[in-house]
């Protein structure tokens, strides 16, 4: 209270100073909170990854044994010591995290025989591209359709969208992928498997084959994004209906405000709230939901690599992939929270003492 009095005393209009503060403070606070969040997350990831009995070496040796190859115990012990696998997990974790912080070294992938970071750096751009385009597709399609569905409730269009919405949420991604691949093969003669054609792999993506690349991107985006899109559509419709039934809509209408302004100025801003706060969640579900589709469609993204790493108990690779995804999701959450605070003044001011 004293603070707000002081600020109003400083500014005769009482506007500019008071308004910028809560938002800036809010962002700063959230940025600082990011550090412990990521640290705790890395600890949890490492703890869970090493939970299954054995490690990469034991499953590797078991694999060799089943093929009839006998491995010398001393060689095994030697390898164990070399990778630090004989030490308790918290020491391993500590070494891993110190190496990341000091040398930006995420460890070694036993399975692929390379350092972890180059593998990820290879896959990350395409993963991000597919994920972001999927998200864009999800929101650019679902929000307008959701608004339409709510404003024209019980119209033919609404029923059609509702049917599509439930179908889209119910069909598993991989089945959808197979269906789309089948139809694209029947109609265009190419199954559109993978993001790049042979020619692109040789020459790279340029302006002249950008169109083909985009069409190849379209199928994975639709496959991965549809269920999320339909979920968002349903949520958006429900939220919009909720807002349209509120008293302030009636009040705005009684003021002579046009329907368009009511929908876009008042209702949408309130209705979009859960969608925005679900942004990072949908990023997470895109990451995990894309794995099977990526395997089916042979996409060069991070999902299948994570899957193999987990199967092979390739702990540093799996851990790093999870950590990178986690960081991306945390950053996504931060962005969606900032967007929320900008949208909804009640959130923006909640931190300020009255």
């Amino acid at each position: 209270m004293a603070q707000s009095m002081a600020t109003t005393a400083n500014s005769p209009v009482g506007k500019p100073v008071r308004k910028s503060h809560p938002m800036l403070l809010f962002v700063l606070k959230r940025l600082v909170m990011l550090i412990p969040t990521v640290l705790i997350m890395s600890l949890l990831i490492f703890f869970i990854i090493q939970l299954p009995p054995g490690d990469y070496l034991t499953s590797y040796v078991a694999g060799l044994k089943s093929e009839g190859v006998v491995v010398d115990a001393s060689v095994l012990a030697n390898l164990e010591e070399q990778f630090g696998l004989d030490q308790p997990w918290y020491i391993q974790y500590f070494k891993w995290i110190v190496n990341i912080l000091t040398k930006f070294d995420f460890g070694y992938s036993f399975d692929l025989g390379k350092r972890v970071w180059p593998i990820i750096a290879d896959l990350l751009p395409m993963t991000l591209l597919v994920s972001l385009v999927t998200m864009l597709f999800q929101y650019l399609v679902s929000i307008p359709l959701g608004i339409y569905s709510a404003v024209k409730q019980y119209s033919v269009g609404d029923y059609v969208l509702t049917t599509i919405g439930f179908l889209g949420m119910a069909i598993p991604n991989f089945l959808f992928a197979i269906l789309l691949m089948y139809f694209s093969f029947v109609w265009t003669g190419s199954a559109m498997i993978g993001l790049f054609s042979k020619e692109m792999l040789q020459n790279g993506v340029h302006w002249y084959n950008l169109g083909e690349f985009l069409t190849r991107l379209l199928i994975p985006v639709i496959v991965i994004g549809t269920s999320g899109m339909c979920g968002t559509l349903r949520a958006m419709r429900a939220q919009m209906l909720d807002e349209l039934g509120r008293q302030y809509v009636l009040c705005a209408r009684a003021k002579g405000v046009s329907e368009r302004t009511i929908i876009y100025k008042y209702c949408l801003r309130a209705a979009i709230n859960p969608t925005v706060s679900g942004l990072s969640g949908s990023l997470a579900s895109i990451f995990s939901g894309s794995t099977i589709s990526a395997i089916v469609m042979n996409l060069e993204i991070i999902g299948p690599t994570l899957y193999n790493a987990l199967l092979a108990q390739d702990m540093y690779l799996a851990g790093t992939i999870l950590l990178v995804m986690g960081v991306l999701i945390v950053v996504g959450t931060l962005l969606s929270d900032i967007a929320l605070a900008w949208l909804d003044p009640r959130i923006r001011f909640s931190g300020r003492s009255e």
Binding site: G14, R246, Q247, L250, K255, G256, V257, A270, R346
Partner: protein
């Protein structure tokens, strides 16, 4: 010429179960500077009537009859004939007829500042100029008694108290100086001391702007304080209408008598039970012929009240009532 002249207004809602008629043939008129009270229990069609005047009822509602409104250019418009989403009706809403809602806490969008929401009215109807619009807004905010209006202008609804929000709502309704103000139970959500302040404020502003007010309430005490004329509604019909003092002195319709009897009077003994009207308002679905109050009436006449609809008749001196019993007694007296 009255500012608003409502003739035989009906509101119908088609449901799967049949036709729902929550407002059936309401007629009244209000002149400039006058206050008409619309009284009745919950569910008797008061709010639907008031929203019908602005054509802001739900899409499912069909309105028939005439709502003749005299605009500030002295043209008479039938609001029922206008497209409820059209430009014409939007020019009337907020500018010529405005409305104060029951619950101020939910009448504002939580997303925008109070200032923004009030000055939306002026920007729509009076001036596109931002500075002038803000000045008008601040002026009206001060007029309704919002202290420190400059600071309040930039605050959000959740930073206001209930009474302050109701003041802001009144400011929003009055900023364009409307000819008719519809107040739909403006004080029910407020505590008693704030109620009195708000009512006084409304009276002052009415004098200043020479507005007509349609005051909707179920609180007879407020009606006595505020209104020149009263229409009592029951089951979508006006059952009694007269000057406010006449209704208080000599309520004619059994329903009005019941309403008066159920108000606690100071000076009566504590032990004395308040009168209560048995039963509830029936659902206005597939109504039988006859008086709507028949089932609950303690003065009903078998074979007449449940067969013939009572018409609204003038019992002399503009005191109208729709009751067979009253009519009979009047003819006997003559």
């Amino acid at each position: 010429m009255p500012i608003i002249d409502i003739k035989d207004l009906c509101v119908n809602i088609q449901l799967d179960e049949g036709m729902l008629t929550p407002v059936q043939g309401v007629s009244f008129q209000i002149e400039a500077g006058q206050t008409m009270g619309l009284v009745g229990e919950s569910g008797c069609g008061k709010s639907l009537t008031s929203k019908a005047i602005l054509a802001i009822n739900d899409k499912k509602c069909r309105q028939t009859g005439e709502i003749l409104f005299e605009t500030d250019k002295h043209e008479v418009v039938d609001i029922n004939k206008l497209n409820p989403r059209g430009k014409e009706i939007r020019d009337i809403r907020g500018r010529q007829i405005s409305m104060i809602f029951q619950e101020p806490m939910v009448a504002f969008s939580p997303m925008y500042t109070i200032g923004n929401q009030i000055n939306e009215c002026t920007r729509l109807h009076i001036t596109k100029d931002k500075k002038q619009s803000k000045e008008l807004t601040l002026e009206v905010m001060k007029k309704v008694g919002i202290a420190n209006a400059e600071k309040r202008y930039d605050q959000f609804p959740h930073e206001f108290s209930g009474g302050m929000l109701q003041r802001a709502l009144i400011a929003m309704a009055l900023v364009c100086k409307p000819r008719l103000l519809i107040a739909d139970e403006p004080t029910t959500a407020l505590d008693v001391t704030i109620q009195a302040q708000i009512l006084e404020l409304m009276q002052e502003l009415q004098k200043e702007l020479n507005m007509a007010i349609l005051f909707i309430t179920h609180d007879l005490g407020t009606v006595a304080k505020m209104c020149d004329y009263v229409s009592v509604m029951y089951l979508g019909r006006v059952v009694e209408s007269a000057r406010a003092c006449d209704v208080y002195k000599r309520p004619l319709h059994p329903y009005t008598q019941g309403l008066m009897g159920s108000v606690h009077k100071i000076g009566t003994l504590k032990q004395e039970r308040l009168f209560s009207i048995e039963g509830t308002v029936p659902l206005a679905l597939n109504l039988k012929p006859g008086c709507g109050f028949y089932d609950r009436c303690n003065q009903r006449i078998e074979g007449l009240c449940n067969v013939v609809d009572p018409e609204l008749c003038d019992m002399g001196d503009g005191h109208c009532v729709a009751c067979h019993r009253c009519k009979k007694e009047a003819t006997v007296h003559e």
